[in-house]
Amino acid sequence: MIADYIAVGAANVEYGGPAEGMPRLIDGVIGQPPPTLTEAYTKSRKEVREWHMSAPLGQFHEARKKFDAAGLNWFSGVNTIAADCDDEEIDAIFKQMDAMGVKIFCTNQTRVDTAARMIAPAKKYGIKPAFHTHDKSDDANEVASADSLERLLKMSPMFMINLDIGHYTAGNQDAVAFIKRHHDRITHLHVKDRKKNHGPNMAWGEGDTPIKECLRLIRDNHFPIYAIVEREYHGSNDGTAVEETKKDLDYMRAALLS
């Protein structure tokens, strides 16, 4: 895996960490419980909780050593704090991230109503949740609209935003305006190109996402915000994953150099 990062020329990496021995959750819905609990979900969810509580931390320490030795900046983790995580499990998840040595993490599919229970562990471990945006901007419990993001930012100075400019645009939100208003609370962008009105992922440059405008805004104002490729468009796939990722990175380089 580390060789792939080096091959694409990406020094900055967001990675959820090793999951050695982690059971597979069955019947969950994008990291959250299903609307109707199934026996398989309940059983596997209990196993996942047990893994969070008891997995040896050595695998996380070892992963950190490997990234550091390779000269890569593993700057962020990824974790969904599911609605059915109790406080002990949330603490255990933060403890794992602490062992990884990350100071921020993408909250992935975490919802707004779980955020309050993340304030104490964020402070305890010094790890800032970067709330990851989606496109369901009409749902107040989703991390999606400018309003929901601003509510989160008011909850704790430890709370940050991982602005996924593709999803945010698909939810008919204005990424450029949000960066201008809240640049000091944005840790990183997820860069992809989607169409508005919950439209699909597109080849970069063919969607509605203001990729170049966002990048140049960061560049021109010296905002310390990472720009991270999240390759969700698989329409052409002319090359390998590494080759396609390099194209996306080069798209960003071209935008920043012009």
Binding site: M1, D4, Y5, I6, G9, A10, A11, N12, E14, Y15, G16, G17, A19, R24, L25, D27, G28, V29, I30, G31, Q32, V48, G71, L72, N73, F75, V78, T80, A82, C106, N108, Q109, H132, D164, H167, H190, G205, E206, L215, R219, P224, I225, Y226, A227, I228, V229, E230, R231, E232, A241, T245, K246, L249, D250, M252, R253, A255, L256, L257, S258
Partner: protein, 67 residues
């Protein structure tokens, strides 16, 4: 105003220069993907979808469930 075609040509030119700069970065002992002060990077599943799916979304390994 740059057309998409013009931008594509520029991106191709950057592809070559970035390969060179990556090598230069390694020559200095550390990879650097900072361009004009902006730190560029990747999220792990970009490259390794299968390996990190369970970590990103413990509920499912289906690609459609990823974000």
């Amino acid at each position: 105003m740059q057309t998409r075609r013009e931008f594509g040509k520029m991106a191709a030119a950057v592809l070559t220069s970035s390969a060179l700069s990556a090598r230069a970065g390694w020559a200095a002992g550390k990879l650097d993907s900072t361009v004009k002060g902006v730190k560029l990077g990747v999220i792990a599943p970009v490259i390794q979808p299968a390996q990190t799916a369970s970590r990103k979304h413990p509920s499912s390994a289906k690609a459609a469930d990823r974000r």
